[in-house]
Every structure is written in structure tokens, then in C-alpha cells.
Amino acid sequence: MATSLPSRRRFLTGAGAAGLSAMLSGCVTSVRSGGGTAGGAVTLQSNLSSPQAKSALQTVVDAFNSRGGSRVSLNTIASETFRTQLPTYLTSANPPDLYTWYPGSVADAYAKRDLLLDLDDLWKGPDLSRYSAALKRLCSTRSGTKVFVPTTYYWWAFFYRKSQFEKWGVSPPETWDEFLDLCDKLKGKKVEPIGMGAGGNTAWISSSWFDYLNIRINGPQYHRDLLAGRHRFDDPEVRRVFDRWDEARPFLDSKSTALPFQDATTELLQGRTGMMLIGTFFADAVPKGGLDDIDFFRFPAIDPEVPMAEEAPTDGYFASARSRRTRQTKELLGYLATAEAQELYLKGSSGTALPTHPDAKDSGTALVKKGRALIEGADEVTQFFNRDSSDELAPTADTALIRYLAEPEKIGSILTTWQRDAEKIWGK
């Protein structure tokens, strides 16, 4: 098309392109917002796609439907799809009513964009008003509105096999020095002391080490402030985290960044690694009966001055502000907050999660009892890196930490890069 003639063909092309772009931009802006009331079943959009969790939630949904009030239909979406599509669901004109997700800063980010249903009145109800103060704070936005209903939580710790520890003649440590000593002993017995599982697509596991070291060295408040952008990743405080990590690094499994955590779990169960810092969800990857031999100890104290906080990520539900069935949705949320519903769910699931309702019974195994005592005795509770910050900041941590594990001597430049990446996200 090298001719300079103002041909009809060119005109048509231009007109077509203009029309198309006008149409597309029209689409983006002209989607109406919903709201108001409508009948029909509440849609519960769930990311609990693993068969066990899915059927456990289905039992709860069936129990709610059999009460004869409002009805709910469970809609399970692959967790990976759910994570990427959640913003689309929430901003669509006719969104699903209720979603499984996380409280804290993640929910706060959606609430800031007026996408979440205000649940203040629900929290005055008989069940939620008795929830712990920490949970109340966790489920409120920064402006103080409640937008979340928590149902379960789990805990992180160093998990190990009791029989293996007996065989090696070692016992769980209390302090950092004892911990390093334990690692040294295991190393002497030709065992990889610490498994990690930050390989494959579970690089996020490495954040647990950063979280815990930061909480133990600089304290939970500093940790939360850092993740919220009120401190810098290239500060000397953060550098101290990596100085401590350097002490433990020689004891990390050589396959730490090669194996995904599920395979790292297998290594632990086979006695090839001594212990593993992991959340209780790993129990789903343990064959039947294998859990009886599992025990844990809390992340050892480093600075006795710092309050002992623990990581206990909380799960639950929030509702769309554009839901057309707000009354029914709140009725369902009210039910999910009861001890009865939470016990029903835990009975069906793998049973290592803990209920948020103060009266709800957990699965009652020794492991779960010990876990509950750990969290209830903790000075403070944090969530996890991605939940205390945002879904955008979490990948920067993965990149920085995996790079640190590969090239620890370059920590200075790694932290500078991390800070720069984080500023792009905080700056938004």
C-alpha cells in the first residue's frame, strides 16, 4: 500500500478501526452496577477445589439448605483460576454473592474500592460478637468497617517426625542457639536438617522464613509496617534478618529451591530431612496414619525482648457489595459463623484447621490441641506475607528470597532491587 491516493479502502479501514475502538471502550464503561434485592439462591464462589475440602463445604451448604430458610448453591472454581479471576467476579455487573478469601490487608484493598458488603450489623449478632478481639481487628477495614467473616485458621511451625527425633536422640529446641545446635547434630548424622520446598511453583514457601525471622528479630509490629510500606527493605533491620538466615542456611536441604513443598513433605516423611517450617495444610499430603508420628515446635526465640508472635493465616468469607441478595447472603454468613457450621466443616476436611468460634470444637487430636494452645498463647498473631501485604507484593518477595538462597553473597543488591520493586507497588 505505497500509493498516496486517498483511496476508499483506506477510508474504510480508518472508519472501521475508529468504530471498533469506540465500541470496545463503550463496553468497558457501560456495564451497569447491580445492587438491590432479588430472589433465588445465594451463589457461594469457592476456591476450595481439593476434593476433601470441597465435599466438606458441600456438607455445610447442604446443612444450611435443609434448614428451610434461604438457599445457597456452591460453585467451586479451581483455586488458581479463582485467584486470578476474583477481581473480575467482584467488578462484574451481576457478581456471585459470597466468596471464600482472606481477611486483613487483602480484604481491605477490595473494601477500599467499595467492592465488599458492609457486615457491621452481622458482627453484632450472638456468634460473631463473641469472637476474639484479634479476629475483630483482623476482619475490619482500616476505617473500622467489618467486611469479613472468619471461619477457620491454621498455624505454621517446624514439623518433624517423633520417631525420627527419638532415633537420632535429639529434642525440640527453644532458642535459636539450641536450634542451630540441633541442626549441627543432625548434619553429623548425615541427615539434611531442614527441608523447605520452595521449588516448583511453591516459591512462596520461602516467605515463611522471612516472616518468622523478621517477627522474631524485629517484632510483629515492625513486620506489618514493613509490609505496608512504612519501612524499607534495604534498612539495616531487614539486613539483620538475613544475617540470622545466613546462620541457618548451611543446614537447609540442598534441594530447598528445587522441590515443591509437597515433595519436600515426602522427604520429611521418609526421614531424609529432619524438619520443615510449614503450615498444617501439608497434612493433606501425608498418607493415612502418617500424621500420628508428626509433632511440631514453634519457631525458636531469637531475641527474648521481642514478643512471641505466630503465623496463623485465617480463612473465611466476604460478600460482594453488588450482591442482589444481601439479606440471604447475611443469613448464610451468620450460619457460617456458628460453632455448628464450623464443626461440620472441620469434621469433613482433613482436620488440621482450627475453628474461629470460641465454642467450636476442633478435631481433638493431640497435634491440633497443641496447635490451638500455641496460637492462643501467642503474644500476637500475623497472617502470612501475601495476606499481610498484598497479592502484588508477594511475588517480589518470592523473587528476592529465591535469589538470596541462590546467591546469598549478593544480599545487598537483592534488597535494593526488592525495595525498588516494592515501591512500584506501594506507589500505586
Binding site: R8, R9, L12, T13, G16, L24, C27, V28, S30, V31, Q45, N47, L48, S49, S50, P51, A53, S55, N75, T76, I77, A78, S79, E80, T81, T84, Q85, T88, Y89, S92, A93, N94, P96, F261, Q262, D263, T265, T266, E267, L269, Q270, G279, F281, F282, D284, A285, V286, P287, K288, G290
Partner: protein
Amino acid sequence: MRTTTPPAPTTQATQATQATNSRALHRRRAATVGFHAGAGLLSVLWLIPIALVLVTAVRSFDDIAANGLGALPHSFTLDGFSQAWTDGGQQRALVNSLLVTVPTVLLSLLLASMAAFALSRYDLPGRRTLLLVMLGGNLLPPQILLIPVSKMAELFALHDTLWALIGVQVGFGIGFFVFVLHGFMRAIPAEVQQAAVIDGAGPAQIYWRIVLPLSRPALAALGALSFTWIFNDLLWAITVLRTETRMPITASLLGLQGQYVSQWNVIAAGSVIAAAPTVLVFLRFQRHFVAGLNLGAVK
């Protein structure tokens, strides 16, 4: 190899030729052996992942959890298949996939062949622009259209229906199909069409009774290719659909993965189920697949 010694020149010559012959033979044999060994090794490398999936599919979850994914199997069970089929909802998902794929393939071939017929057999104004736009649309990465497509589906009240998915797939496939079919139909001799015109056939008759039958190889190749593309698509499905019961097989395969822990045996079994229809289509249309590769390459 000159023979300078008079006695028994022939024997020596024969020996020499024999030696050369056997050396050449050796070399040829070695080359053949090397070729087969190399090619065999490559195909083994190629088949290992598939074999691993098949082996994993028939192991039990406890076996995988206790011994690791890479270990030799200690168990044999078909539970993975039944779990994926019923609990994992693959049965319904397979039906959804076929409900989307078959109409999409037929509809896009019909529309594309009509467009290609008009563009290649008639001197329409702006046909070059149209073809270039269609080609340009193919160069556009689909990712940048995710949000417009999702919003448009909502605007037309089609979101979360299989119709939306069919519409999107037809829309995206058609540009490429028209381009390929246009190239193919242009090669049909003009005399065939002229003869039909003399016999009194209108454009519709020429399209239906002359050009379409002559384009059968191209249609079959495109049909087979597009079947696999649409059947294996995940991106558009999760963009326009949000209800579990309407998801196609690819999305439901993803759903077999848990939030934290994945049951690899069920996922492997699910993958085998999800791959079956495309493998069947491939075996049935194998010839056309190969033909499809150089379709439109030679004008």
C-alpha cells in the same frame, strides 16, 4: 589401488574391492545403527513424560505421598480415574467441552468458507483490507482482549453461558480460517467456476456445489486442527464462564489441583481422560493434520 605386482592381480584387486565394500558396508551399518539409536533415544525422551503420566494415573495417592512422585510404583489402582470422572466432575466437563467444540468447529468452518469464497472468487471492494485485518487480528495476543471480551459478554447478557464461549471461539478462529481457505480457494481454476456460470449456477450454488466440495481437504485439515485448539483452550473458558457446572474439561482439570496439596494420581488420570478426545480426533484425521501443516504455504 594400483596393482603393480603381476602374480594374482585379480585376487588382490578383488580383495581390495571387497575390503572397500565391507568398509563402506560397515560404515553404512554403523550409520543406520547410530540413526536408529539416536532417533530411538529421542523418542524415548519424548515419551517419558507421557509414560510418567500414565504410570502416575494408576498409582494410589498414599503410594505417591509416601514414596514420592518420581519413585517406582508400589501400587496399582484405577481409583484415580473414577475420582476424576465422578468427584472431579470430568464427565460433565467433557460434555461441556464437546458442546462447545463441535458447534464452534462447524460454525466457524461454515462462516469462514463463505467469507473465503467471496473474497477469493469475486473482486469485492476492500477485500485486501479485510484479509489484512483478519491476519492482523491473528497477530494480536489474546491476553490483551481478555477484559473487553469479559465485559462484552456481560453487556450482551451472555456471560457464564456456553454461547459466549462459542461466540468468542468462532470470532477468534475465523480470521485464520478465512486466510487459509482464501489461499486454497484461490488455487481452484477459474474455468470450473466459469463452466458453472454458463450452466446457470448462481453464487450460492457455485459455493455449495462446486467450491465447497473442492475445498474438502482444506476443510478437513482445518477442522481437525481447530478441534484440538478449541478443545484444549483454557483461557477463554475461564474468562467468560464462572459456574462450575459449565466449565469445560481443561478448566475442570485445573480444578483437580487443590489450593495447597494436589492429588497427582487424580490429576494424571484426569489428564489422560482430557487428552482422549483429541487423540481420537488425531488418529482419525492424521492424514489431514500433516496436510494442514503446509496448507496455504504454496500458492
